[in-house]
Symmetry: C2
Subunit: 347 residues, 2 copies
Amino acid sequence: MTTNVSAYAAPAANAPLERTTVPRRAVGEHDVLIEIKFAGICHSDIHQARDGWGEGIFPMVPGHEIAGVVTEVGAGVTRFTAGDRVGVGCFVDSCRECEYCRQGLEQYCTQGMTGTYNALDRNGEPTYGGYSTHIVVDENYTVRIPDALALDEAAPLLCAGITLYSPLSHWKAGPGKNVAVVGLGGLGHMGVKIAHALGAEVTVLSQSLRKQEDGLKLGADHYYATSDPKTFEKLAGTFDLIISTVSAPLDFGAYLALLKTDGALVNVGAPEEPISLNLFSVIGGRKTLAGSMIGGIAETQEMLDFCAEHGLGAEIELIRADQINEAYERVLASDVRYRFVIDAASI
Amino acid sequence: MTTNVSAYAAPAANAPLERTTVPRRAVGEHDVLIEIKFAGICHSDIHQARDGWGEGIFPMVPGHEIAGVVTEVGAGVTRFTAGDRVGVGCFVDSCRECEYCRQGLEQYCTQGMTGTYNALDRNGEPTYGGYSTHIVVDENYTVRIPDALALDEAAPLLCAGITLYSPLSHWKAGPGKNVAVVGLGGLGHMGVKIAHALGAEVTVLSQSLRKQEDGLKLGADHYYATSDPKTFEKLAGTFDLIISTVSAPLDFGAYLALLKTDGALVNVGAPEEPISLNLFSVIGGRKTLAGSMIGGIAETQEMLDFCAEHGLGAEIELIRADQINEAYERVLASDVRYRFVIDAASI
């Protein structure tokens, strides 16, 4: 039997979000009921609520950066008990059988992961995200938030944190590695913190020097403006790894030229439109242009444990639910340092 | 004191090649004098002789797939003696000091490798390639051709062989790996032979099925026509590694969709013009679009030893020097199975 819970939803594409109620399924054998405490606002929430990707399911309750506390568990749940501090990220299910699910790469499930919102679950019911007071999630798609992390600062780790941690880990950022992060926003600021904590030398490549002071405080060793052509001369051939968090259509040839031989430019943000690329940019220097999408459940837990160990919460601006629409405008104007987090008590 | 030797040269851009003489430097302390026996014709010879890359040095003696015999060695030479069967590939020098030269990645030398032809050497003298009777090369840029390889079939290995061996080795083609080779020409046919010998499951992706019988004989397990859209449906998500040897502007999104998660599409050929790429093609499935350029000296030796062990010579059509211009036309018409090799006795 479903229960209706309070939520903020976009009733239709491009309509402002407003308070409503949405159904949550009864707590199944392997489910946990989570009282949501905080939910981060990801840029992709705005895309989807405004139907930027074309296939929105409305009403839509965005939110895939969820931090809360377990209040009830199903009879078969073994990993959590009531009172546990937990998080939910970008997906709440996957096929569990394909080669990627079996490897803990559920985000690349061959049948497609089930998005935390704006998706249909395995029973064909729409999923509703974290801008809500409660959510019911299978324990296997729920992660533990260590005590050392404040729940509000932990929420954005569930998307922004893992989106950066996964490629930094996969492409082996660490001592002796020279890593650049392109863009200092919600994603980028976690990239700087995590890359620094991993022991890499970290450079921020940002359009301007406007956030330089922040970047250095967050752990960057260097900060350059990409609007200055001298940046590209000076840094040619110096990076092992560049992670681009931006959706602007960069001059990819210019960024690839900043890599050492065998270096990788990994995109976690991307422009909607195709980019133009001269393949000689990757042939000279055996370079890699790659992408990465969030991370699997086990890796998300590993990321949370790493962030707890190193004291890496997100930099947040806490808002009430009735400020969501205003916050969306500010995100679009890049006017947030560095993540809006909704206090679910206000929903 | 230089010595003039016979050669075939393009006297100017787009002019037919003709017999001439070019100077070879005196044999220096660390040099070997090589009597050239065979020289392969690489597609890039034609590009350069016709000034396709814009900065040709004329007269130009192409040829960077050289097989021959040492006839004289400098006083300081330790690795070769007269009578040794040797090869020279795409470069004859590099800075020897940068991080890449020190790692045996001379092809990515930060100061630029010295091309075997159409380049200026460290003394500012033009280099002349393998369409010639003799060449003087530093022993450190000379490799040994094992007795098990015929010299004529070994010549193309110095460019076509290493160009495929290096990425197949770097991206770990081998047992359990599903590898595709795009294009079955001079490069591609060596890719099929080497990938098969490495133990990978090998698929040829060619425009048509015209060379299917050859492909299977060379070691391919499967052969598909890329002109058939069903090929892309059927093979979606199946390859660990795709090596593209073609210079046609492929639909890179379609080829990336053929990769498994964590798969790589590596370009050793490339169109002159920029390609168009939607970055979501690499973000979903954490895929890599990369490039690779020939190989270092130590790796070239490793490749020759590997080819000798597995009996992998190139498939060649032996020609006289006076057939070079005609052969160029046939290469441009894809009418060669699979490499023209010039008999240097006819120069």
